[in-house]
């Protein structure tokens, strides 16, 4: 690990605009610093600045940026109103990691592309302009939607997929003031600049995540992975679905580990609303979702896997 200056922020104002890399739980950043994939010259420890509470806000909930993943998943209000969020968090990492991992750190976790994590490989995300070793390489866990010629990596997390389905917002404090953006617009597609995972600007700090009022109906998180626990998703589906008199009246879906961001497609949600559940309808939804999907060799299986996982989730969500 490269040497760095370490400072402890006493309050949010110490952290906003600081010319340093923020460290929260450290479970992603330190992992990458050991590999010298990340080499910050200064670290700002933000674990003592508060922002570690979950509070009601209107009919919704405000989750502080420093709330641990474990505390969020175990929170009685979250479990009652937004069980999808608890379930998605509990699907990720391990109990030990979730005790350190924070809400904001989880959103900002970097890809698990093995070439990104290996300094000797070409990688446009780590070293812009060096190429992409995953194109034509080992790309089993890579993206099938929204890729570019520069990068085919995925956003690997679970929590953010649930937050996308729940249509949460991210609150950000920057040197120029605060802003609030939909979670669905927080992560970006790689395009020709894969070095940027999300829309955070230098000096900005995430302060909280805001959940809108709970949606009546079923909330489901399904994660498909190589082993039953302690493994990243190959494909995941988060669904919020409400049915009245046998007709779908609300549908909010999000998909994990198939793109550089939690993937949402409003066309799929719209297609489902007003319809009665049927196998034919689920097939149509999958056709629309995967219309532009492209395999890279090693991850071709993700296309049928996403189709089947979506069908299984819709069947479960609409079962009598």
């Amino acid at each position: 690990m490269k040497a760095f200056d370490y400072a402890r922020a006493a309050s949010l104002s110490d952290a906003v605009g600081a010319p340093a890399c923020l460290i929260a739980g450290g479970t992603n950043l330190l992992d990458l610093m050991k590999l010298e994939v990340e080499t910050p010259s200064a670290l700002m420890d933000i674990t003592r600045i508060g922002l570690n509470e979950i509070t009601a806000e209107g009919d919704g909930l405000r989750i502080g940026a420093l709330v641990t993943n474990a505390a969020c998943a175990a929170d009685p209000q979250v479990r009652q109103g937004w069980p999808l969020l608890s379930r998605a968090i509990l699907a990720g990492a391990s109990p030990q990691l979730r005790n350190k991992a924070t809400t904001a750190g989880n959103l900002c976790q970097r890809t698990r592309c093995s070439y990104f994590m290996d300094n000797r490989s070409a990688c446009n995300k780590r070293r812009p302009g060096s190429g992409c070793a995953a194109l034509g390489g080992i790309n089993r866990n890579h993206a099938i939607l929204g890729t570019s010629d520069a990068c085919i990596a995925t956003y690997p997390g679970d929590m953010a997929v649930a937050l996308a389905a729940l249509d949460a917002q991210v609150k950000i404090e920057g040197p120029g003031g605060s802003r609030r953006i939909p979670l669905r617009e927080f992560h970006r597609l790689p395009g020709d600049d894969p070095s940027r995972d999300n829309v955070l600007q230098p000096g900005e700090v995430i302060t909280s995540v805001l959940l809108p009022a709970p949606v009546e109906g079923r909330q489901i998180y399904r994660k498909v992975r190589d082993r039953a626990s302690y493994a990243f998703a190959l494909v995941s589906v988060a669904a919020v679905l409400r049915i009245e008199d046998g007709t779908i009246v609300q549908a909010q879906l999000a998909f994990g580990s198939i793109a550089h961001k939690p993937w949402t497609d409003p066309r799929v949600d719209t297609l489902l609303v007003g319809e009665r559940p049927s196998k034919a309808l689920f097939d149509k939804a999958a056709d629309l979702l995967l219309e532009g999907a492209q395999g890279q060799g090693g991850n071709d299986f993700k296309i049928p896997l996403a189709r089947r996982t979506l069908a299984a989730v819709l069947a479960e969500a609409t079962a009598e």
Partner: protein, 174 residues
Amino acid sequence: MAQTPAARIAVNGVSHDYKGDPRRSLLDFLRRDFGLTGTKKGCDHGQCGACTVMVNGRRINSCLTLAVMHDGDEVTTIEGLGMPDSLSALQKAFVSHDGFQCGYCTPGQICSAAAMIEEIREGWPSFVSVDVAGHARLDDEEIRERMSGNLCRCGAYANILAAIKEVMESGATS
């Protein structure tokens, strides 16, 4: 280089002022500065659980956190749970159930299990809980999921599960 702020860390009740290199992980701090070699380094990347200790009663991977970040924290290691002449209930149960072979993962398994028992007491759900808003069952599937952050290369899982169940069912302090 800027001055690194000191960190006062209590390990098994003994206080220590850490002023060293900010790069040192809590794991290396415990093993090198304190000489407490019970806590093991398996992967050093959060992937195995061998380095599990408790910080303020919660289990964490000591390899993925910096010592300097633990100012004011209380750390409990396997040595703090029990020593050969004062084994804890979990330590005794691991012995009587053959809950290990090489023993490398065992300190992490036991620290993890002790903290897990407390999480269950507080009503925390797990991924396999049928209803995350409800009460957890205490069956094998739940315990396996909740212990999935601790790998055992020797595959002693069946006996680890038996040891933990015995302690949970007896209601003894872990």
